[in-house]
Amino acid sequence: MTVDFIFEGLNQLFPSFAGNDIFLILAMLLPFAGLFGFITIYGFGVIYSELKVSSFIQDKTGPMGQGPGLHAGKWGLLQPVADGLKLFFKEDIIPASADKPLFILAPFLIFIGAFISIIAVPFGEKIIVADMNIGIFYVLGIGSLAVIAVILAGWSSNNKWALYGGMRSAAQIISYEIPAGISLVVVIMLTSSLSMQEIISYQAGGLFNWVIFDNPFMPIAFVIYFISALAETNRTPFDLPESESELVAGFVTEYSGARYALFFLSEYANMFVVSAVAATAFLGGWQSPFSDFLNTPIWSMFWMISKTFFLIFVMIWIRWTVPRLRVDQLMHVCWKVFIPIGLFNIFGVAIWTVLRG
C-alpha cells in the first residue's frame, strides 16, 4: 500500500531517523495531498470538458480565448478557473430562516463523502491510497453519505423547492443504490473478492478477460450499474433533485458562492468515483487491454484514467441529449425494471459459475 511504501522509502532515504513518527505522519499526509491535487486538476478538467462537449453537441463554440490578454486563456482553458474564482469570491449568504448549523454542515458532508471514496480507487498495482479488503463495499457505503447531506441541505434551507429536491433525492439515491449494489454483487460472485485490487487482478490478461466480457450476464449488469450510477450522481436523465425547470435548483436553491461550489465539485467527484468503480469492476481497472503490453505502472495510471474519463464522457453525452424522467417513472425504472433484472442476473451468474466450475 502507498502509505507503507512511502514510509519504507523515507526510512531508507534517511536511515539515521528510521522509524520516526514524523515519517509516518508524512507518509499518511502525502497521498492525501496528492489525491487532493488530483481532484482539483480533475475538477478543472472535467468542468472544461463538460463545457466543450456540451458546446460541441449544441453547435456552439463554448469558452474560447479571444483577442489579446487573458480572456479565458487559450481555447478557453482558464474558464473553469474563472468560474471557480467567481464562486469563491461571492458573498456568503445564509438565509435568515435557515437552520444555520445544518445548512453549513451539508456541503462539507457531501464533499467529504465524495472525497474519501476516492482513496479506495486503484490507479495501478501499487498506486492506491488504501487497499482495503472490502474496497468496493466501502465505496458503496461512503456513497450513501451523500443522501444525508442532500436531505440536510434540503431541509435546513427552509425553502419549499429545496425541500422537494431533498425529498426527491432521498427517495432516488436510496432506491438506486439497490440495483447498483446488486449489479456489483454479480462481480463479487465472479471474482470472489471485495477488494478492488483482487477484482482487477482477476481481469488480467487483456480485453477478453475483463469482467464485462466474462459471460452473457455481465453486459446487463454493467448497463444496470452505469444507469444506476447516473441516478446516484443526480445526472440527467435523473437530475430530478435539482431539475432547474421544475424546482428552480432543488436542494441547492438557497446555496451560493463557495458552499454552492462544494456541491458542484462533489457532483463531479461523485461522477469520478462511480465511473472508476465501473471501470474497476467491469472494464479491467488499470489493466491494459493488450495483456502484458503497455502494462507498466505509468501506463496503468493512463489506462485507469482513460477508462474512467471515457465513462464520464458518456455521462456528459447523455446529459446533453435526453430529457428528464418524472418521479414516478424514475421509481418505476428502478423497482420494476432494474431490480428484477438484477436479481435474475445474480441467479444466472450463480448457475453459470457452478456450471463452469
Partner: protein, 373 residues
C-alpha cells in the same frame, strides 16, 4: 395516484421561476408531488396596452402591438393592420400582401421553434432548445435584414409596409428554407420520438375537444385537440386562400388526442406547412409594386367599429377597434389567444404531478406579454 392523502402545501411557482415563461405566478396546492389545484395569477407584466391606445394615434398603436406578443410581433402587426384596413376600406397591392404573408409565416416558424425548444427545456432537454434558437436566429437575421429590428419590428403599417424588402431577401429566404427543412426533421427526431419525452408528454394534460371549445382555446392548442380550425382557411384574410397548405391536427399518435405530445407535435407539423406557404408566396410575389402606394397621409377612419381576427402562432387574435372619427382610437380591445390558453390550465392540469403541470404549461405556449397586455 391519490390513494394516500397527506397535508396539503401551497406552493408559489413564479413570478420568478425558470419554467413560467415570463412573469406568471401559479399558486398550486400540492399533496406531495400531486397537484390538486392551480390558480394562475397574472398582471405582473400589465402595461395598460388598451388604455395607452386610447391616447395615441392609429399609427402609434403599431409599436404597442409589437410589445404584446413579443415573440410574434409580425403577426401582431398583421392583425392590427388587417383590422384597420377593413375599417378604412383600404386595398393594398399584391406585393405588400405577399410580403406580409412571408413575414407572418417566418414569424410563425420562429415562434414555434421557440415553443418546441422551450417545451424540451421544460422537460429537461437542453440541447434541442439551443438548436431551435440557432435556427430562429437565422429568421431574426432575415427580419433584421428587412427592417433593422430583431424582436420588435413595427414593420407592417396601415396601408403598406415600413420598408420594401431589401435586394437579395428572396434568395436569402429560399436559402434559409433549404437549410431549415432538414433541421425540422432533426428537431423532430431528437424530441418527438424520444422515448423519455413521449413518456413525459403522451396522455398527460389531455384537453378534450369540448373543453377546448368551451374555454375558447384557439390555435395549435385547439388543433391538437382534433378540431380542424385555422383562420387562414376558415375565415381567410389577406391572400391566404390562394396557397396550398394543410391544417395539421392532433391525432393522438402516442397517446390520447389533445395531450401534451399532440400540442407539441402539431407545432412541428405547422412549421412544415409554413415553409410550404413561404415557398409559394415567394414564388408568386410580383416583382414591382410600391409598398407605400396605399399608405394614407393621415389615418382618420370613419365613425364606426370593426372586429378582425387573424391567426397568430398562438391562435385566434382579434382586434376590436371603435372609431369616433378622430385620429385617436376611441376604444381598442384585443382578444388574445394565450389568455384563453392559460385559463384552461386548472381544468386540464389539476390532479397531475408537479413535473407534469410544468410540462402542460410549456405545451400551451403562453406569452405573458400578450396575456397581461
Amino acid at each position: 395516484m391519490g390513494l394516500v392523502h397527506g397535508e396539503e402545501m401551497v406552493l408559489n411557482i413564479g413570478p420568478q421561476h425558470p419554467a413560467t415563461h415570463g412573469v406568471l405566478r401559479l399558486q398550486v396546492r400540492t399533496d406531495g408531488e400531486v397537484v390538486s389545484q392551480i390558480t394562475p395569477y397574472m398582471g405582473y407584466l400589465h402595461r395598460c396596452f388598451e388604455k395607452h391606445c386610447e391616447n395615441v394615434t392609429y399609427e402609434q398603436v403599431i409599436p404597442y402591438t409589437d410589445r404584446c406578443d413579443y415573440l410574434s410581433s409580425m403577426s401582431m402587426n398583421f392583425g392590427y393592420v388587417v383590422a384597420m384596413e377593413r375599417l378604412m376600406d383600404i386595398k393594398v397591392n399584391e406585393r405588400v400582401e405577399h410580403i406580409r404573408v412571408v413575414m407572418a409565416e417566418l414569424q410563425r416558424i420562429a415562434s414555434h421553434l421557440l415553443c418546441t425548444g422551450v417545451f424540451g427545456l421544460d422537460l429537461g432537454a437542453f440541447t434541442p432548445f439551443l438548436w431551435a434558437l440557432r435556427d430562429r436566429e437565422r429568421i431574426l437575421d432575415l427580419f433584421e435584414f428587412t427592417c433593422g429590428a430583431r424582436l420588435l419590428y413595427n414593420y407592417m403599417w396601415v396601408g403598406g409596409l415600413s420598408h420594401d424588402i431589401p435586394v437579395g431577401f428572396v434568395e436569402s429566404t429560399f436559402e434559409f428554407l433549404d437549410y431549415f427543412e432538414p433541421k425540422i426533421d432533426e428537431l423532430e427526431n431528437i424530441l418527438a420520438h424520444n422515448k423519455i419525452l413521449v413518456e413525459r408528454s403522451a396522455d398527460i394534460g389531455v384537453m378534450p375537444k369540448d373543453i377546448a371549445i368551451s374555454y375558447g382555446v384557439t390555435g395549435p392548442n385547439l388543433r391538437a385537440s382534433g378540431v380542424k380550425w385555422d383562420l387562414r382557411k376558415n375565415d381567410s384574410y389577406s391572400i391566404y386562400d390562394r396557397f396550398e397548405f394543410d391544417i395539421p391536427i392532433g391525432e393522438g399518435k402516442k397517446g390520447t388526442v389533445g395531450d401534451c405530445w399532440d400540442r407539441f407535435y402539431v407545432r412541428i407539423l405547422e412549421m412544415r406547412e409554413s415553409v410550404k406557404i413561404i415557398r409559394q408566396a415567394l414564388a408568386s410575389m410580383p416583382k414591382d409594386g410600391d409598398v407605400h402606394q396605399s399608405l394614407p397621409k393621415k389615418i382618420r377612419p370613419p365613425k364606426g367599429s370593426v372586429y378582425a381576427r387573424t391567426e397568430t402562432p398562438r391562435g385566434d387574435l382579434g382586434y376590436y377597434i371603435e372609431s369616433d372619427g378622430s385620429p385617436i382610437p376611441y376604444r381598442l380591445k384585443m382578444r388574445s389567444p394565450a389568455f384563453t390558453a392559460l385559463s384552461v390550465m386548472d381544468e386540464i392540469a389539476a390532479g397531475w404531478l408537479l413535473s407534469d403541470v410544468l410540462a402542460i404549461l410549456g405545451s400551451l405556449d403562453i406569452v405573458l406579454g400578450e396575456i397581461d397586455r
